[in-house]
Symmetry: C2
Subunit: 405 residues, 2 copies
Amino acid sequence: MSLRPQRTLQLPERARSMPASPIRKLVPFAERARARGIHIHHLNIGQPDIETPREMLEAYRGYDEKVLAYGHSAGLREYREALARYYVEQSIQVTADEILVTTGGSEAVLFALLAVCQPGDNILVPEPLYTNYLGFAVMAGVEVRPIPTRGDDGFHLPARAVIEARIDERSRAFLYSSPGNPTGTVFGREELLMLRDVALEHGLFIIADEVYREFVYGGDIHTSLFHLDGLTERGIIVDSVSKRYSACGARVGCLLTRNEQVFDTLLRFGQARLCPPTVDQLAALAALGTPSAWLAETRREYQARRDVLVDALQAIPGLRCTRPSGAFYLMAELPVDDAGRFCQWLLESFDLDGRSVMMAPGDGFYVTADAGRREVRIAYVLRREDLLDAVRVLAAGLEAYPNRT
Amino acid sequence: MSLRPQRTLQLPERARSMPASPIRKLVPFAERARARGIHIHHLNIGQPDIETPREMLEAYRGYDEKVLAYGHSAGLREYREALARYYVEQSIQVTADEILVTTGGSEAVLFALLAVCQPGDNILVPEPLYTNYLGFAVMAGVEVRPIPTRGDDGFHLPARAVIEARIDERSRAFLYSSPGNPTGTVFGREELLMLRDVALEHGLFIIADEVYREFVYGGDIHTSLFHLDGLTERGIIVDSVSKRYSACGARVGCLLTRNEQVFDTLLRFGQARLCPPTVDQLAALAALGTPSAWLAETRREYQARRDVLVDALQAIPGLRCTRPSGAFYLMAELPVDDAGRFCQWLLESFDLDGRSVMMAPGDGFYVTADAGRREVRIAYVLRREDLLDAVRVLAAGLEAYPNRT
């Protein structure tokens, strides 16, 4: 065999610009710390520790078909009908034919972008943002334009003029999560009405990621995009069972749209990948039968954790954070030169009686250069006593950190 | 509330060009036929009727974690290690670190295209082709350039010059399936060596879809892309458990690459969507423990069906088809004006003692305009007696069809 020399291999721009997970570079440091015998409190991840509802797990155990077959590309009919009943209970008026089941909320976001954007178009996303939006945007060839929000405003939307200044002729959609990852912020009805008015005036879609819908605390009410009038054509909701039922590994999400043209387009994307996983959909169907007490108890637990965490964090000198109303994350500003360096230092050079803490550096949640450099995202998916100990370690680490500001 | 009039909504070009399933337009006719009490033999679908191995189904029933958590973005380590052992047994030399588990072979194809192509690039695909490649190409912004193959040549690759004439400076990869969907053709070592030489000379990747690897009949040997030398950088294999274990609903596939740069890119696409479904991966792991007798028996069954089907088809006057060596499909040329119209007529206007037959019109498997208009794809995932009856119905239908040629 004689082969001519290969051309030099360089992957194209899209491949190179695809972002890695923002905590990926810290993982080796955490592994080395563990190898040194350090116990790491993981404040960096959004994997709930709450047990998956029994009803859901039993659906896996009860699977009794003989052939594990493809389902419908839009999702199993029975599941879609049950989902429609769930949404109507949430005052979200959709029918089974307006629901497309997806492989996690991830695929839902990707399909929504593919459906409403052409490569080279842009979307507007409140910042800090869920980092995987950036990956889906690269996959869809779409530019992400950040809408700036500020911690001191609880990361609520800025004034209409700030938003409108970022719209141009290639803008196609708003994309937001509420309750928000990474902020925990719950957008209120008034700010969503403002966003709707801007969207309709400029001919934009609104893609609302509502995967944390059930986790709103302290009497705040969750406003769904579909609680607003006027969005039959332009509104798309992204949802997922991952967080609601502590079932991240099921990979079952969905898209809601009342626009037939959009639904037909989403379905064609769905047909290309054949169907979402079948048994997991049956499990997600069973999850809808979880007693409402389970969700209420889970909500109470997260709220108690939030309060324990925020109280403890706010007692740390120089640390700034507000008390978010939903989800199980918050962004905190630290009195350090660079939160990424500090997070690495905690894993590499610090422990309190054999314990350290891992957090997600804030700059990974921003598109804007240099934004979020003193921030970290903290997830509260640990038991209260572990959260308290994690904050104790963090406080001691801040005391000891040589580049404290 | 006063809203200004919305701009007219038109979805962008990508959304409009996304292809629908090629059998979709026949579905309403099949439903109406069923409503009239007609029994439909489904020769149109690739959903195996073979029972999923017991080992795999028991893995669902045995799932006993308390929290259904995310797995690693590259797939569960234990599953990847077991996969590596499987591949080494197939003389495919890969390690667990060269395997990325995907949500079905579908996601594997999409990720491969996203990784090696820029929007506007093109890929070369032997035609007729697996139609969902067209959908993934639209999603990735990639043009599909067909490499023509002919039924009379058993749909094997054409001469090198025919292939090279289709390459230009935006060509980035070959993509083929072998054993092939929709043709059943198994590419031999010599033609794959030719393809490799062309790829290396022109700096192209080869993406080999080998999901039907285990279904090769009559002593033919399956040549995997990784059985060829020289493709460490440029070779990517797509695989899936869907067909091998009659587990289409599991949505577990994988990508193999020995190119670190490509693996790292694929992993970043994987991180964006977090992970493949967890329990399904455990089931796929268990499937690897299926006794080899199960696969041997399944292979014998498909081969027997192929022979029954091809013998019966070849006895129909004017119908042309060869005996393919693998998978469970074939393309047949019918003595009709237009196979799509004939398929619709069978469902709308014909029955033999209350039975009719549904096939996939061939033109859906071609990019080239007007190609495949007299062809149908026939899948043999029915029991032999049903296949024989389906061919009986088809033959009678051809006799009765007013636009027979």
